[in-house]
Every structure is written in C-alpha cells, then in structure tokens.
C-alpha cells in the first residue's frame, strides 16, 4: 500500500451503508411479514396495517435497496478506478439519506402518516383535512422525502460521477482493473443513473421542496398552487419514479456484466470480458433510451386525461425495453457457456437475480400493454412486478456483496450459509411473483386490508414470505457467526 493510502478509504463508507441498509431491510421485512400474517389472521386494525404498508414500502426501497446499491456501487467504482470512497458528497449521501429515512419512519410510526410509499398525491394533504394524520406529521414526512430526494437525485449521482470522471487514480487502490466508461460495458451500466436521473428527478424535487417550504410557512401556500395540482405533481412524480427503478435496474444489469466475466473458468484473456462487449454496450444504450419514454404506462388507466398518443408511446417503449433485456440474456448466457463458470456465491446470486429480473420483466411488459393494464393495474399483479424487480436487483447486489465480502468484512464468507441465503431468496422471489400475479388475475386490489377478493393466495404469500425471511436469517448468521466464535 502506498504511503498515506489506506484500504479503509475504500471500504469505510460502503461498509457503513451496507450494514445500515441491512438494519432497514430487517425493520421493513418484519413489517412485510406482519402484513401478510395480518391477511391470514386479521391481527391488525386497518390503520395499523396501513402504517406498516407505508413503512414497509419506503424502508425497503430507499433505506434498504437504494442504500445497498449506493454502498456497493461506490465501492466498485472506487476499487476499479483506484479512488477513495470518501469526501463530502459521500458523507452527505449517507447522513442525509438516513436522516431522511428516520424522519419518514418517525412520521409514519409515530405521527400516523400512512400514504403508501407512492404518496398517491393529493392523499398526503387530503389525509390532513380528513383528520387521518396531523399537519405536523405531514411536515416531518415531506422534509424526510426532500432529504431522500436530495440524495437520490443529486448527491449520490454526483458522488458516483466524481469517482468515475474526477480525481486521480491511486494505483494502490486499484483492486480490479476494470476502468473505462463505455468499455467495458459493465461500467456503462452506471452512466444512465449519473446522467439521466438528475434531470428527470429535478422537477419533482423542486415540487417537494416548494411544498416543504409552504408547510413551514417560509413561502405562502397560495404561491405554490402549481405544485399542488394532482396532474402537475403526478406526471413529474412518475417520470422520476419510473426512471429511478429503470436506472437501478440498468445499474444492476451492469453489475451482472461486470461480475460474470470475473468468474469464468477459461484462462483465455477474452474470457475476462463479456462474450460481446459491443452487444453489452448496445443493450444498455438501447434499454436506457427506451426506458425513459416508457413512463406513461403508469397512467394508461386515465383514458380521457392522458393523450392516447402518449399511451401508445408508453406501450411501444415498454416493449422495446424487452429487446434490451433480450440482448442481455443472450450475452450473459453466451459468456457463461462459452467460457464456463466457477460456482461461487457471487456468481450464483448474480445469475439467479438476473433470471428473476428477466422473468419479472415480462410481467412488467404486460402491465405496459394498454389492453392488459386496464385489467391488471392496481391489482396484486402490479405489486408482483414491483416487489420482484426490487428483490431481483437486491439479489444481484447480494452477488456484488459476496464478491467483495472479504474486502468489506476482513474474512471470507461461509459458502454454505451464502448458498442458503441466495437460493432461499431466489425461490421466495419467484414464489411471491407467481402468487401475486395469480392474485392479480383474480382482481385482488393491492394495498387493501382486509382483502375483498383474492385471499386464496394468502397462505402461499405467508409461506414464501417465511422462506424469504429464512434466507435473510442465513445472512445474519453469516455476519454474526465469526463474532460468536471469537475468543
């Protein structure tokens, strides 16, 4: 190690982010299990269920998955480009994300705000007028959202861009020589987040800040009427939320492109890259371009208000993302087959996560089909898609986590526990996907408690939910067991 350069400069913040995401995952996962248990037994009152619903969604998505992705992507960029993962942007991303999440958790659990994590604007305001929650609770919630948005839209992409494009490479920190921006294509997967999300998230961030300022009396409420119109709020919201999920998915895809060639068995030099790097890059550019215009599929079911041309564009763009995914399927499988694979927890998690991601992608395209959307939107089929894409992306990042396990925690992983963690998570993800899709076909409304229809699937939800929890239990054992054995 060069003088003044420490490995801790690479790992301190990523490790903090990974461990903090685990804490949020545990809290949110417990809420999720309680929700399914409530469907089976009726143990919760409706407001309690809706509190857990809001807590589960926000915590799993932002405190859990987003933070896990943030930590591991910064770590990967750091050790591939040989730059320390530290500085104001990194620190602020960690502190503000978790502060925002704590404020959201406090407003939900302590002050009763229960809007669901998609906000359903104007429900946050209507809830105050109907006496469902207080103005104080809403104010804390909105400022929590503003802090999270600041990290998601500005600070994290800036921190990532700084690692990719700024500063000097310190050779002692280059643990894997995998540099470049467009080549290798595994790095190109980071670029859509860096370049696309900040402009697409800017409008909703400005709207949220304006509402936050009005809530604390800094600007008069009357002056921000433009931000309070449901259509004016929800279009920027869905442009942002849709592309956030897509950018996270594309970054996960780039992670698969990076990980799989690390575990090929062939000694050939070209086995360290994808079967076709050009096809890999093309898939990412194609997927990203199509994904940007796919957002109107969230609003297909407004047949009069949403222009039909926008709906048709949304359908075509949704299906074009499927071509991007198809290119990736071929490339990843061809890389694995041609060069052979060494079985490790990292490669198993990345491959299973990728497989689940692709299977779920087909349901996503069905929801992105106007004719089907009118029969599936708002049902458990939509929940099936959202939950599975988040689990699939998490599973891919779990692959990245096992790849860097020794670097982060100073010891190798226990392979048996790792395989149990990965296989249980993948089986549970698929079980939940098919169960929820089936419930959607019965017309079961999502976010409804008690279920007016579709309760036939609850026993299966409980079973697969328990499997998912068991998988995460194996990971906690993984983290704790060496400590227990320590003298």
């Amino acid at each position: 190690m060069e003088a003044g350069v420490k490995l801790e400069d690479l790992t301190r913040y990523p490790r903090l982010m990974v461990l903090t995401s685990l804490a949020w995952f545990l809290a949110g996962g417990t809420a999720g299990l309680l929700m399914v248990l409530a469907h089976a037994t009726g143990l919760l009152r409706i407001p309690e269920y809706n509190t857990l619903l809001t807590f589960h969604g926000t915590v799993m998505t932002f405190g859990g998955l987003f933070q896990l992705m943030m930590g591991l992507s910064l770590l990967r960029a750091g050790f591939c480009y040989g730059k320390p993962v530290k500085g104001l942007l990194v620190k602020a991303s960690y502190v503000l994300l978790n502060l925002g999440m704590l404020m959201i958790a406090a407003s939900v659990l302590g002050l009763g705000v229960r809007t669901s994590y998609t906000l359903m604007f104007p429900l946050p305001a209507v809830g105050v007028f109907k006496g469902l929650w207080s103005m104080e609770g809403l104010t804390v919630f909105v400022w929590g959202v503003v802090l999270v948005l600041a990290v998601v839209v500005a600070l994290y992409p800036a921190a990532l861009a700084r690692l990719v494009f700024g500063g000097k490479t310190q050779e002692a920190l280059v643990l894997e020589r995998f540099m470049g921006t467009l080549n290798p294509s595994g790095m190109a997967g980071m670029l859509p987040y860096v370049f696309i999300l900040p402009p697409l998230g800017a409008a909703i961030t400005v709207g949220a800040v304006a509402i936050g300022l009005a809530l604390v009396g800094i600007v008069p409420l009357g002056s921000i009427g433009w931000a309070l119109t449901p259509m004016n709020f929800n279009y920027p919201f869905w442009i942002f939320a849709h592309n956030l999920m897509e950018a996270m998915g594309i970054m996960a895809l780039g992670t698969v492109y990076w990980l799989i060639p690390r575990y090929t068995a062939s000694e050939e030099q070209r086995a360290r890259t994808l079967f076709s790097e050009k096809l890999g890059l093309f898939a990412i550019v194609f997927y990203s371009t199509a994904a940007i215009m796919a957002f109107p599929h969230h609003l297909f079911t407004m047949p009069t208000s949403q222009p039909q041309g926008l709906s048709y564009t949304g359908q075509v763009a949704s299906w074009l993302t499927g071509f991007g995914a198809a290119f990736s399927v071929f490339n990843v499988l061809a890389t694995s087959y041609v060069f052979g694979l060494r079985l490790t927890p990292a490669v198993l998690a990345a491959m299973l996560g990728f497989g689940v991601y692709i299977a779920d992608g087909f349901l996503a395209m069905q929801l992105g089909t106007i004719g089907w959307a009118f029969r599936l939107h708002g049902t458990y089929a939509a929940t099936a898609h959202l939950m599975t894409i988040l689990i699939a992306v998490t599973l891919i990042w779990i692959g990245a986590l096992y790849h860097s396990y020794r670097l982060l925690f100073g010891r190798p992983e226990n392979p048996k526990l790792a395989y149990a963690h990965i296989v249980l998570t993948a089986v549970a993800a698929l079980g939940l996907l098919y169960t929820m899709a089936f419930m959607g076909s019965l017309g079961a409304p999502r976010r409804a408690y008690p279920l007016p229809v579709g309760s036939e699937g609850v026993a299966a939800l409980l079973t697969f939910g328990a499997l998912l929890a068991a998988g995460q239990g194996a990971f906690i054992l993984q983290l704790l067991s060496p400590k227990r054995r320590a003298p």
Binding site: V126, T301, V329, G340, L341, A359, I370, S441, L442
Partner: protein, 183 residues
C-alpha cells in the same frame, strides 16, 4: 380470454416458466463446463452460438410484435368503437362520483348493452374498477381529482356488478365499493 387478467397471467406463466427452466439448465451446464475447463480446455462452436443468437432474437422479435398487434383489440377505446357501431340502442350514460370511501352513481339499474361511465373523484386519487357478476375485473380507471374520465363497456351479462377502488386512498380503501344491476 387472452385479453383478461387471467389470460395475461396464463401467458405470463407459459412464457416465463420455460424460460426459467432453460436459463437454470444453461447456468448449470456453464458450471459443468467450468469444471472441465482447467482439465481439458473448452471447445466452442462459434457458428452454433451465432445461430442461437439469431434464432433467439428473431423469436423474441416475432413474439413481442405478435403480442403487441393482438393486444390492440383489447384496448377499451378500440373495443368501444366496435361495440357502439354494432349496437341498435343508444348508449346508456352513467355519471359516477368517487369519494372517501364510496361511490355515487346516477343510475343503479342498467340494461344489457353498451354503457358509457363518466367518472370523477371528489377528493383523493381513486379507481373506478368494474367487476362482472362472476367476479372478473372488466376494466379499471384511475380517477385523479380535477379530471374526468370516460370509459365505454359492453355489459352483456345480466346480474349484479361490483365497483371497487384499486388505488390506495387511506383507511377505507379496502371497503370502498358499490354495486349496480344489469337487467
């Protein structure tokens, strides 16, 4: 049948289950080839893989295109044009108001045939989702406050239809429902 929710999920299962089987099989085969790699090296048939690439992309292209073309006939406004042009009687029009947590319809008894629902929300985002007497979800419409949505449905089956909210709208969301009869 294919245009219903059940049809969509059946197609989903038919396409994704074989995909997952082949995906896992190829992954296991890759691991097996990986074990052989150090002992005897790997041979690849470049032409076979290039052929597989072409076949895969053509299959995807054809399937994707076919589904999109077929799905046009399930779009509610396209179905409405067909239904309105073939029916003899004038279209019935029903005004719907959605609010926390119920619906107000200006008619609760309708004739079989084509019905145009004109719906709006008075407070939060709601849905106007119509279920047939057999429980099939015929269509759902999202109602954003300040906007009015119109949807035309052909209600062929006499009986009791149920209206439900599919957009989360607070504590009464699950119970937000109404019924109307078609005779």
């Amino acid at each position: 049948m294919m245009g219903t929710g059940a049809g969509a999920v059946l197609i989903f299962v038919y396409l994704t289950a074989p995909f997952l089987v082949v995906f896992v099989a190829l992954f296991l085969l890759s691991v097996r080839r990986g074990k052989r790699a150090s002992a005897e090296g790997l041979r690849e048939n470049e032409r076979l893989i290039r052929a597989a690439e072409v076949v895969w992309l053509i299959a995807i292209g054809l399937t994707w295109t076919a589904i999109n073309l077929v799905s046009i006939q399930w779009i509610p406004w396209i179905q409405a044009q067909t239904a309105v042009s073939t029916q003899q009687e004038p279209t019935q029009v029903v005004q719907v108001e959605a609010f926390m947590w119920g619906y107000r319809l200006d008619a609760y008894e309708l004739r079989t045939g084509v019905v145009k629902f004109v719906a709006r929300s008075l407070d939060a985002i709601h849905a106007f989702a119509v279920y047939s007497p057999k429980g099939e979800l015929l269509a759902t419409v999202m109602l954003m406050p300040g906007m009015t949505e119109e949807i035309v449905l052909e209600l062929r089956e006499p009986g009791e239809y149920t209206v439900r909210c599919l957009e989360y709208c607070g504590d009464g969301h699950s119970a937000m429902a109404s019924k109307f009869r078609v005779v």
